[in-house]
Symmetry: C2
Amino acid sequence: MAPDKKEVLLVALGGNALIQKGQEGTVEQQFENLAVPVGQIARLSRRYRIIITHGNGPQVGNLLLQQESCELVPRLPLEILVAQTQGQIGYMIESSLDSQLMELGILAKPLVSLISYVVVDENDPSFANPTKPIGPVYSEEEAARLPYPTLKTPKGFRRVVVSPRPVTIVEKREIRKLIEKDFIVICCGGGGIPVIREGRSFCGVDAVIDKDLASARLAEEVGVDIFLIATDVKGVALHYGTPQEVFLEKLSAAEARRHLEAGHFPAGSMGPKIEAAVQFAEARHRRSIICSIAEIAAAVDGRAGTQFG
Amino acid sequence: MAPDKKEVLLVALGGNALIQKGQEGTVEQQFENLAVPVGQIARLSRRYRIIITHGNGPQVGNLLLQQESCELVPRLPLEILVAQTQGQIGYMIESSLDSQLMELGILAKPLVSLISYVVVDENDPSFANPTKPIGPVYSEEEAARLPYPTLKTPKGFRRVVVSPRPVTIVEKREIRKLIEKDFIVICCGGGGIPVIREGRSFCGVDAVIDKDLASARLAEEVGVDIFLIATDVKGVALHYGTPQEVFLEKLSAAEARRHLEAGHFPAGSMGPKIEAAVQFAEARHRRSIICSIAEIAAAVDGRAGTQFG
């Protein structure tokens, strides 16, 4: 990197950037919620080159529900629904950011939202063992009638899908070129559209990729300097939710791995975030951060969140 | 333009590039249909810099139908559904084109699919008079219960929406930069996500923009050399569908305007395509073409379709 170039910051926005707990998730609510992270990112774009990725859990769940309520339209596989959420959320983030940049008088910065697909390994062990719950909650009787595997969760039965590990981001070369030209790039929404390589072509698969693991892969492949995961808690804690809770301001990759292996972090939530943060910090010898949506700017400056490295 | 630079070709793909008449429109059918135009575009990318735009009629109709069948999920305004179809169709075109480029050994060409939004005028006369039919056909009783305006069409009652004229493509500057760097760019899907400018921000509106008019606007704003509209007929004909039918291989902008004003072309189908072709040819003094999906390459070489200019 030329010495005069700004560092590259990747911000992975959690689902709560758009829909917060207990909200119905109207479009108005989603735009209002987005103003908090996007305002901070707009200001950070003066000092950093920016990549934004995002989750899609509630949105893809809604599309599934709608699809299942309607017999008149051919069902679409999950990878197409992920693509639809990239369009929806990509637009919402891009137009929010456009407005905030105009507000700040940052008028010359190019900004794009890209469709992204991500190669997974057809021999990934998760294909034999779908475990990721998505979409609505069913009763045992309803679940028995569904044409796909379900799993009993604390709330009830939910559809479970394959969640393979991301191997490579198809658009990495394009994203690298855009970042090089100081574009702000929104990409890899919902972990990316999962595809397998079949000879000389790509073929979509009925699966979803973890958004934080895909973001870490992208951060490595594009050569990011700071990898930040923004979520609904202020960072990593041991004994989370108990009287013994201890917040961790700093965490070495080795310690984090030890805590992960000791089962400190639940598989469905903080686990993959910490795994993603550690993977990036070890591969690039650079900083990763887990922080709350409200403290993105403070965490980049080292004043909030959990700092890995 | 530097003399060593390739000309820029914009191909606007009609809805039949994905779903053909009488088809249910499964994902397999859509990918199979796409191979025809996309194979030709992949080969043309050796000689031209390429922009691809596309329609979304059946896809946005399906999303509307699904949304109306499901009470559990908050309804999304039309502009969000357009954004969803940009994700879906953008992914389908991009991955098909990626496969075809690999097949041809064209490995170094960057390729992106962009979310695009398009500014419309809040005083556009169409806001007072929604006329564009979209989505499913209803009985008179069903139509009376719907929360939005409907219109009696030959098939039955259909929802009608506002269809304002495109004023400017928000991402035009980004698209220009990408084309300059020889990226293939897929954008302006479904005519673009319609927004109005409110002070320093953009605000989505419940409307759809004509895909061919938006593509013509983009072609002017980006400085395209050839503007090609690919559809389900081989070009422009007078007395279409009658024994007097005359196919037109060439058409000057002035003649085309005369025929348009004489009411030769129906408002819902060939009319806006001819208007778009004429608008571009007059503004840029360059060639526009209307041709069939199967004859894109021949039409670029002047051996098929109707050539304007």
